[in-house]
Amino acid sequence: MAKKTRTKPSSEGRLLEIRNLKIEAKVYPPGETPRLVTIVDGVSLTLERGKVLGLIGESGAGKSTIGLSSMAYGRGGVQITGGEVILNGRDILKAGKEGVRKLRGNEVCYVAQSAAAAFNPAHRLMDQVVEASVLHGTATRAEAEKRAKHLFRKLSLPNPDTIGERYPHQVSGGQLQRVMTAMALCSEPDLIVFDEPTTALDVTTQIDVLAAIKDAIRDTGVAALYITHDLAVVAQVSDEIMVLRHGKLVEWGGTRQIIKEPRQEYTNALVSVHHIEHEEHKPTANPLLSVKNVTAAYGGGAVKVLKNVSVDIHPGQTLAVVGESGSGKSTLARAITGLLPPEQGSITFAGRTLSNALKDRKRDDLRELQMIYQMADVAMNPRQTVGTIIGRPLEFYFGIKGAERDRRVAELLDKIEMGKGFVDRYPAELSGGQKQRVCIARSLAAKPKLIICDEVTSALDPLVANGILKLLLGLQKEEDVAYLFITHDLATVKSIADSIAVMYRGEVVRYGSKSKVLAPPFDAYTDLLLSSVPEMEIGWLEKAIKGRRMEAGGN
């Protein structure tokens, strides 16, 4: 392998030191003079060679911005306005364009959250993986390819010798994320910035990628900044954890100290976020919704996505449907709502048989069966105010207009724990959690008997998601509404479900009351799902990998 051209000051153990970093961005509020907003305020950190520092916090905490500052990069108009970033003994903020160009992809590499979006779809994987090493002249093309294949093997990718000839769309999401890690490791950098590398993946795939990343870090001795909002994930890979909030440091300490003995209140809230006590209800004699032997397919029967699915939902109770992406859970929701008319089987709702297609359904059927979406910001018309969004079902189903409508909207806003000031706001003026609350209010306005919740918390930060779950549980008690809760997060399931259906490749593989489904003996897939949920415990990853009985379906 070629000798690296740069000199490594190996005597010192310190690789990266950030002092009093201040990052600002210019915002242009319409109708006002542009002003600077501080995104990161006075954050300092040090990273030793070969160590992993986890950066954790909710969205907007500035974790990605800090991570990118280690390669002197500010994303989307962001400016580094103060402080020093010392890498390998020199301040890279003063390195100038040429210096930064030498640094990126050579001394520091970056692994993006969505590898699927970060790879260029028009080039083969190998060309992209070796590009940085070849451009920086640290290796010839042949050497770099040899190194890349070695890395593919180390990251346990299938067909390591030929996978580089494929295009990004020809490999799965989990594999792509590992190829991206190989790309970062290929130029043998001193530091890799991992920006939420597993957040977009299923739990069952996440565990593989996590293990691969951890092994690669250990074997190559590279240092890493690991950015995530999932404390359980970061606990597996990092030596130290830094908790951030609103661009400021909250707490910084060893992994064990942070998860076992958090000193700050906010860290404590993050650590103990998932515990909601929920008493399981017994199934009743008359289910509210009964799905019987439903089979559904896309493309006129070409791709079967639901195979002979039967589940029941009881009044005022919650059925959680769990599974990895592609298991058909969202399709089940589409079949129930009539968006995708099932090919076979029947759906009974409140004693009536629902017609298959949406357009044949009666208005009362539509009213009593509401849906809440995963992405709240696209589920609301961006050009309607909160008042219109919540008020429309009242007008449409009950013909309530004028002052009476406004009163009911205010009532509903009160129910979702938002004040009166929100009536005239547009969705763009709400935070992620508030948007989801407005969506909940919109479905409640119809006085439904059943609400389908499609991954309603997975796009939210843990603390916000927790608030939404508590709200949903409270509303269930008040309004006696049933939920069909689609999720891939088993912690959520434990907190709110009365019964659970586990789906795998279009079939229900395990179905029953919560206590029964979550009690051994498990079938192979449920076992995989359960054991893949990261636990806030050091050494969990190794234990989980050893104890697995089957490979994830995504691979």
């Binding site: 509020p29 319409p30 109708g31 006002e32 709502t337 968006l339 949406l358 359904r361 208005r363 539509l366 009213r367 509401q370 849906m371 979406y373 992405m375 696209v378 589920a379 609301m380 018309n381 961006p382 050009r383 309607q384 105010t385 429309r392 079902p393 449409f396 189903y397 547009y426 969705p427 763009a428 003026e429 919109r442 119809a446």
Partner: protein, 274 residues
């Protein structure tokens, strides 16, 4: 309320010019110093205090004819654009929302119309039909609506698959609500920018038709026809033909300056109130 200080200078210039054009067009009868067909002097007299822009090929006052021309040109172009947008966008949205056979039939029919060059199609139709202002507006509006149809259908197809449209469908909303309340407000930005452009195309199309002798018929004045009447003068160094051409350019630029500004305001997702 609109704060004048917040309007960017480009938009102010555009607004001012548009206002001038509109004022002149509406009050042509009172603004124009001479009558439309009145022969007031010699052929192609140079600009003087009596005839501010000189006279044309028949000795009529060019300024007066420009002013009456503005009235005809802007009226026909505006009505044709209004027709093309109403027809094109509603049919385009409907094709996207209803889909299926309706979409196929409409889209293929539009493809068929677009396969024939607009100018040739316009010439053929207008040479058969009587050349009145109404037929001009109808022909221009219908031909232009094919372009608007394509654009609005393309925009609406993307919006139609958004979750909030799906939510409206799940609620049981009718096609009318989905088109006008869910899709239209979100499709306005590209449509407004297209509107400015389409209006100018309509002006140019009308001018081309008049230049070729099938548009506005003499003695009525319109800018394209005036270029035609005075084009021989260019050889002798007389600028009479360039003045209507310049007016067309000025109108095009000012309308687009305004359209750009409106576009900036409508793209704001916070109701433009900041």
């Amino acid at each position: 309320m609109l704060n004048l200080k917040l309007i960017p200078p480009g938009a102010l210039i555009g607004l001012f010019l548009c206002a001038v054009f509109l004022f002149v067009a509406v009050f042509a009868r009172w603004v124009a110093p001479y009558g439309l067909g009145e022969i007031v002097g010699g052929v192609w007299e140079p600009a003087s205090s009596k005839y501010l822009l000189g006279t044309d090929n028949l000795g009529r006052d060019l300024l007066s004819r420009m002013i009456y021309g503005a009235q005809t040109t802007i009226t026909i172009a505006a009505l044709a654009t209004a027709l093309s947008f109403t027809l094109g966008s509603i049919l385009g949205f409907a094709a996207a929302v209803i889909g299926g056979w309706f979409d196929t039939i409409m889209s293929r029919f539009v493809d068929l119309l677009m396969a024939i060059p607009t100018l040739i199609f316009g010439l053929v139709v207008l040479s058969v039909l009587p050349s009145t202002i109404l037929t001009l507006i109808l022909v221009m509006g219908l031909l232009d609506s094919t372009r608007v149809f394509r654009l609005s259908r393309a925009v609406a197809v993307d919006i139609n698959v958004m979750d909030y449209v799906e939510a409206a469908k799940l609620r049981g909303e009718g096609t009318g609500w989905i088109i006008f309340r869910e899709i239209l407000p979100n499709a306005l930005s590209p449509l407004v920018s297209e509107l400015g452009l389409r209006f100018i195309y309509a002006v140019l199309f009308l001018s081309a038709l008049s230049f070729l002798g099938l548009g506005v018929q003499p003695p009525a004045a319109d800018w394209g026809g005036m270029v035609k009447e005075n084009k021989e003068g260019i050889v002798f160094g007389i600028p009479a033909a360039l003045i209507p051409a310049g007016a067309i350019a000025a109108l095009a630029i000012s309308v687009n300056l305004v359209a750009d500004w409106i576009l900036n305001r409508t793209t704001s997702l916070k109701g433009g109130r900041g």
